[in-house]
């Protein structure tokens, strides 16, 4: 098994599914030659042809509408929005059409919307984190893989799902390498993974942040605190059981995300954990998120706004100091 980039893992998963199911097609801007702004479908165009990789005008509403209508009429579209920020221009099509058809009409919309997401360069309008919005909106599944294997395994599951799936790929993960599974290895939607086992504190995160959390866990381990790191993989439906089970064991939880703090995925997990396993908690569930701020251009400013390994470590330290474990 050789390591491939996250972008290549996506292409592999997509190509395998396209081979297996000719209802799948890809639609978006600048896909055929360029392979999208992140080369995320590079090679798919020449390989599958213009009927399966459809370049479009810069018309986000039309792209998603095309997906919704085609899905309702028997196809399984993958709509590539390039940046998740461009979903603003298709929000009615996503939230009011795709998300509501199963409920209103009993016919789900098997469509995947792929977009690059997460904090990186290009300033405020290209760095909106919208996973909380999609989690909040009934009728959508939202996924956010943190590595190549999950990227491949989840895109395969997403393309087989009957529900509309928002597939978020972190921009800064695009080139990160890892091994991936074979054609029959799927990663199920809705199932989180334990990225690192531990007994003292549960740290929940997703996407690129998992890497920082794992690094923080190593620092903490050197201080005698064993963190269990949970990689959500799917934002909604949330794998509440896995999280709760872990916190029952550790008695302490931290959620780390790169989004703005209020009404966020982190808020949801914190609220849920304290609601469900209150009696096991030694300390409040903490959140480490990005600041409530747009993302600026200057890299120094940008980094100042998002969670860093050190912020994560000191949040856990602070918790352990202020609320020492009851047992042990």
């Amino acid at each position: 098994m050789t390591a491939v980039t996250v972008g290549q893992a996506f292409q592999q998963g997509l190509a395998e599914e396209m081979e297996a199911d000719d209802r799948i097609f890809v639609l978006g801007t600048d896909l055929f030659i360029r392979g999208g702004h992140f080369a995320q479908v590079k090679g798919i165009g020449p390989r599958f042809g213009h009927d399966r990789v459809i370049d479009t005008p810069i018309s986000e509403a039309a792209m998603v509408a095309a997906g919704v209508g085609a899905a309702l009429n028997g196809m399984r579209p993958l709509i590539d929005l390039n940046f998740i920020d461009f979903a603003f221009g298709a929000m009615d099509e996503i939230a009011n059409q795709a998300a509501k058809s199963s409920y209103l009409w009993g016919r789900p919309v098997p469509m995947v919307i792929r977009a690059s997401s997460g904090v990186a360069l290009y300033s405020a309008q290209h760095n909106n984190s919208l996973e909380a919005w999609f989690m909040h909106m009934p009728g959508l599944i939202t996924v956010m893989p943190s590595n190549a294997a999950d990227t491949k395994g989840i895109i395969k599951s997403a393309l087989r799902s009957d529900d509309p799936v928002i597939f978020l790929m972190h921009k800064r993960l695009t080139g990160v390498r890892g091994e991936v599974g074979g054609p029959d290895e799927l990663v199920p939607l809705g199932r989180a993974a334990i990225a690192r086992p531990g007994s003292d504190v549960t740290i929940v995160s997703s996407g690129i942040v998992v890497n920082k959390v794992v690094k923080a866990a190593e620092v903490l381990a050197s201080e005698g605190v064993e963190a269990e790191v949970i990689d959500l993989r799917t934002i909604f439906p949330l794998d509440a059981q896995l999280i709760e089970g872990s916190v029952r064991k550790t008695g302490r939880a931290l959620v780390v995300t790169e989004e703005p703090p209020f009404a966020s995925v982190a808020s949801e997990i914190a609220a849920m954990v304290q609601e469900e396993v209150f009696d096991y908690l030694d300390a409040p569930v903490q959140r480490v998120t990005a600041a409530h701020s747009p993302i600026p251009h200057s890299p120094g400013l940008m980094e100042a706004l998002i969670p860093q390994v050190e912020t994560i470590v000191s949040a856990v330290r602070g918790s352990v100091e202020r609320w020492p474990s009851t047992e042990a």
């Binding site: 097609f25 009927d51 459809i54 479009t56 005008p57 018309s59 509403a61 039309a62 792209m63 509408a65 095309a66 997906g67 919704v68 209508g69 085609a70 899905a71 309702l72 009429n73 028997g74 196809m75 009615d92 099509e93 009011n96 059409q97 199963s102 409920y103 209103l104 009409w105 009993g106 016919r107 789900p108 009934p138 009728g139 599944i141 799902s161 009957d162 529900d163 939607l189 809705g190 199932r191 799917t234 909604f236 439906p237 949330l238 794998d239 509440a240 059981q241 849920m272 469900e276």
Partner: protein
């Protein structure tokens, strides 16, 4: 900075007079239509369809005002020829999607008055199980891809369905309806452009009833016709008299042929009129009763077809009254059916949001 209050649309009299000047009514006051090109044996059925729609729509106002139908609805009385003329030009497997004023399309496409009426009532027997109401009617099995609460959105669904039809090469042609007001929402033109570029088997039908709620079309749109606007997007477009079922039918037949032959989409602007307010219960301050009366007297689409059929002896004396009585009975039946239908089980209220199971915490 304070202007004089001004309640009636300032340009109203102009429309009315322009209309009157252009009119050359026949003896009965109606503008004649030429039905010679239509399939003669079917025309009585077409008339029945139109009358059924009219009776259905006209029954709704008291039902909403009394609260039997929750909320208000958008009636299409006056717009029957557009729905029937378009749908009769389609094949059974073809697809139609409607905006917020959809009953005429749904009934023309074969949904039963019971299925539609019960849906308006929010009953379990409605075509969407009572979940949707007037703006979310549905019957995929009949090729009816839903009414839609968002201006312009139905065209998008029809466009996407047409993309699937093209990719699947299954011969389907899709129709997306929207109104004159919908010609000002950006998404409409994204859909039109994309369909044109991809040569999708789509028929874009703009029902220009000249008002968007209280807003007269000329208040929010300058220049030529909506069809002329469409031409700039590179597809064949024309304006037809939407009160003339023969004209609507002919335009749709041509569009369907083009679409089926791979020639791409066609834009049809059907000029029509709604007799009722924007929604049931509306107080109408933005047009005159004279204007409404003029449309009724000279252009009523039901009367124009009836008059033509009578003139050609294809409708015997008394037959129209029988058709009306029959339609009225069917509508009455749909009301009784709705009234006696069960409401949906509240225990199911949260079902079917996703196919993937989940509960109040997340994954189930």
């Amino acid at each position: 900075m304070i202007n004089e209050p001004q309640i009636i649309n300032e340009a109203l009299s102009e429309t009315h007079e322009q209309l009157a000047a252009a009119d050359r009514p026949s003896e009965d006051g109606l503008l004649e239509i030429d039905i010679s090109g239509l399939p003669a044996g079917e025309l009585v059925k077409w008339l029945e369809d139109m009358v059924l729609i009219r009776e259905f729509e006209e029954a709704l106002e008291p039902l909403t005002l009394s609260g039997k139908i929750p909320g208000s609805v958008h009636q299409a009385s006056g717009q029957e020829a557009v729905a029937v003329g378009v749908v009769r030009a389609l094949r059974p497997g073809d697809i139609v999607a409607s905006p917020h004023r959809p009953h005429h399309h749904a009934l023309a496409k074969g949904l039963t008055p019971r299925a539609v009426m019960a849906e308006l009532w929010g009953r379990a027997t409605g075509c969407a199980g009572g979940r949707g109401g007037t703006m979310h009617l549905i019957d995929f099995s009949l090729g009816y891809f839903g009414s839609n609460g968002i201006v312009g959105a139905a065209l998008g669904i029809a466009m996407g369905a047409a993309l699937a039809a093209k990719l699947r090469q299954n011969g389907q042609v899709c129709v997306g309806f929207f109104g004159d007001g919908g010609a000002n929402t950006g998404r409409t033109w994204e859909f039109v452009n994309f369909a044109t570029v991809e040569k999708l088997p789509l028929i874009v039908v703009c029902e220009n009833n000249q008002y968007a709620v209280e807003t007269w079309i000329r208040r929010e749109m300058v220049g030529g016709t909506i069809a002329e606007r469409a031409i700039g997007f590179g597809l064949p477009a024309s304006q037809v008299d939407g009160q003339d079922i023969a004209a609507v039918y002919a335009a749709t037949v041509e569009a369907r042929e083009r679409a089926a032959a791979g020639g791409g989409p066609t834009f049809i602007e059907a000029v029509t009129y709604r007799y009722r307010g924007h929604n049931t219960g509306e107080v109408i301050n933005y047009r005159t009763e004279d204007e409404v009366e003029h449309w009724r007297a000279t252009r009523d689409p039901v009367e124009r077809l009836r008059s033509s059929l009578e003139r050609l002896g294809q409708l015997r004396p008394g037959q129209f009254e029988e058709i009306v009585a029959g339609a009225s009975a069917v509508v009455q039946d749909s009301i009784e059916f709705s009234e006696s239908s069960p409401v949906p089980d509240p225990a199911t209220a949260g079902d079917r949001v996703l196919v993937t199971p989940f509960d109040e915490k997340g994954l189930a």
